[in-house]
């Protein structure tokens, strides 16, 4: 945390050090990052609270808007797709909503995290504090969007009551995996946007493309029916590498089930694999973030 090097007592002019990250290795930087967050839990909490307050207070409908937002998005997709596709899976609103619910959270977190550092430029130039708390707060505040989304899910479930099952208790487990991945991704975009300001413009389009490439509006099973995928199995392998392929399928199986069957337990092996990969990704992006952090004040 201390960016100073003590002046040597013996020599008048100490050796120059140019490298911003100095002699701190990856393991040390990741440990520092974890320490930063742990020691500044209160700050993260205040930032999250401020974020929630602001987003709720700005709108006329307040919290109701948070519940309505994912529902309205679902209505748009259902209206559009029932015209284009005609014979979609049964209970299509619930089918889509199972993906919209986590996706809203991810986009809210990532968009917020992208500008989390540059928004606080004045502060960063004036106070030395661990900058990593800013994307942590942004990623965490996004959970609120998810929490209100579950209220919307509850409302929707009333209309599809035959699909209610005990498997809904798996939602927090899947959400925990998603949080780790979201956090890791947030560190990357937050640090990246300091150096490339147009990243905040690009990220919106990247997220939209990502949504359509993920099995949100369609299922992986439906994808296997497509001729192009059957002819090119490598595309299917690529799809499997998308974290949201695993997450959407997991959310869908516990909320909706399958077009022909009731809800069941998610693919725990796939989720565990994703969790391990996300933790590795998180360590990597924490390292990248901490490595770039000393330059923020100069560049912003």
């Amino acid at each position: 945390m201390i960016p100073f090097r003590a002046m040597s007592a013996t020599s008048e002019v100490p050796a120059a050090f140019r490298n911003a990250a100095g002699d701190r290795g990856p393991v040390r930087l990741v440990r520092e990052g974890i320490g930063d967050i742990r020691s500044r839990r209160r700050l993260v909490r205040y930032l999250v609270q401020a974020d929630i307050r602001k987003r709720g207070a700005d709108t006329l409908l307040g919290n109701i808007w948070w519940v309505l937002d994912p529902l309205l998005q679902m209505v748009v997709y259902v209206a559009f797709l029932s015209i284009v596709v005609r014979n979609g899976p049964p209970d299509y609103p619930l089918f889509i909503f199972a993906a919209i619910l986590p996706w809203k959270w991810f986009t809210a977190s990532v968009t917020d995290a992208t500008t989390s550092i540059v928004r606080q430029d004045a502060l960063i130039k004036q106070i030395q504090f661990p900058k990593i708390v800013l994307p942590v707060a942004a990623a965490t505040a996004g959970i609120v969007s998810f929490a209100f989304g579950t209220v919307a899910l509850g409302i929707l479930m009333v209309f599809f009551s035959d699909r209610i099952s005990w498997y809904l208790v798996f939602i927090p487990v899947i959400a925990a995996v998603q949080y780790v991945f979201t956090l890791a991704f947030s560190f990357l975009v937050a640090a990246g946007n300091v150096f490339f300001r147009d990243l905040s413009n690009v990220i919106g389009h990247v997220l939209r493309l990502w949504w359509f490439l993920s099995p949100g509006l369609y299922s992986l099973a439906a994808l296997d029916q497509v001729h192009f995928i059957q002819a090119n199995p490598w595309v299917r392998t690529l799809v499997n590498l998308n974290p949201f392929a695993i997450l959407f399928e997991a959310y869908r199986i516990v909320i909706y089930g399958t077009p022909t069957g009731p809800p069941s337990a998610p693919d725990m092996a796939a989720l565990t694999g994703l969790l391990v990969a996300s933790i590795g990704f998180l360590a990597l992006t924490t390292y990248i973030f901490k490595r770039l952090e000393p330059n923020f004040a100069k560049i912003i």
Binding site: I2, P3, R5, R18, Q126, F129, I299
Partner: protein
């Protein structure tokens, strides 16, 4: 920012508050302000030379406990960069800096304030940013509110505050935490005459309590009256260090010269000599 330095076991605590040795800071012009992906690619493919701008170079200074050092100089001379290095916000590009004690910097006031939050919430948030324990901030809360003279406004959102009210709140927070070393950047000119007098009194108090102060200011009267040493920085280099009166005199002479020169050679557009390729 409250930096608690780890005590080196074999050495006694040095008696100085701040020391720098051949301190230098450069900015990489490839990355300053509003870089886009496209322009970076252009840089990479085209002239890959990095251009460095030395904001500060070869700065050697020593501030003893109880001293009040004024840093003066023209705009863009590197004064604020020096404070940022002392505060630990920027790492030196070369040389070294050693700071002994808790540092509090309010380089300019109210930077971290959230306009939607109330004054009270901003104090708690500010304390958290400064690294204070929440219980400490809550203890300090009444005295901060009282000192800032905000009255009932303390529970109103900050966007309803005047600039002076914000400045008062910022000053109260930064000085409430009783730092060993206080770094001030152009803060004495804020607020009305009343609060200005009050904030001067507080700074004098901190200096008197054997604590070091480094301040950047354009208020020359303050420099000669309350600082026991002054540092003149021009173009990133220390030009003069010593008695406030003498340094101020030199600064004013230089300012006059510069004014005369710009009036004469306004047409001649030259390249800033500090933008030079690094070998």
């Amino acid at each position: 920012m409250l930096i608690r330095r780890r005590q080196r076991p074999s050495e006694a605590k040095p008696d100085y508050a701040i020391a720098t040795a051949d301190l230098g800071v450069y900015y990489d012009l490839r990355f300053t302000k509003k870089t886009t992906i496209r322009s970076s690619f252009a840089e990479m493919i085209g002239r890959g030379r990095s251009r460095h701008f030395w904001a500060l170079r070869h700065v050697n200074l020593m501030v003893q406990r109880g001293e009040s050092l004024a840093v003066i100089g023209p705009n863009g001379a590197g004064k604020s960069t020096l404070l940022q290095v002392l505060a630990g916000i920027i790492r030196p590009s070369e040389g070294a800096v050693d700071v002994n004690g808790h540092v509090s910097g309010l380089l300019s006031l109210g930077a971290g304030f959230d306009k939607e939050l109330t004054g009270r919430e901003n104090i708690l948030l500010g304390g958290a940013f400064l690294g204070l324990e929440d219980s400490t901030t809550r203890e300090l809360l009444p005295s901060i509110i009282e000192y800032a003279e905000l009255g009932d406004f303390i529970d109103a959102p900050l966007r309803t505050y005047s600039a002076g009210m914000r400045a008062r709140l910022g000053f109260s927070i930064a000085t409430a935490i009783d730092p060993d070393i206080l770094l001030l950047d152009e803060v004495l000119a804020t607020g009305d005459a009343n609060f200005r007098a009050k904030s001067k009194a507080r700074v004098i108090e901190i200096v008197a309590a054997a604590k070091a102060v480094v301040l950047v200011t354009h208020d020359m009267a303050w420099v000669t009256e309350y600082c026991n040493r002054a540092l003149l920085i021009e173009h990133g280099a220390v030009v003069m260090e010593g008695e406030p009166a003498e340094v101020v005199e030199m600064h004013q002479a230089h300012t006059e010269e510069a004014r005369a020169r710009t009036a004469e050679a306004a047409k001649a557009a030259g390249v800033d000599p500090r933008i030079a390729p690094i070998r």
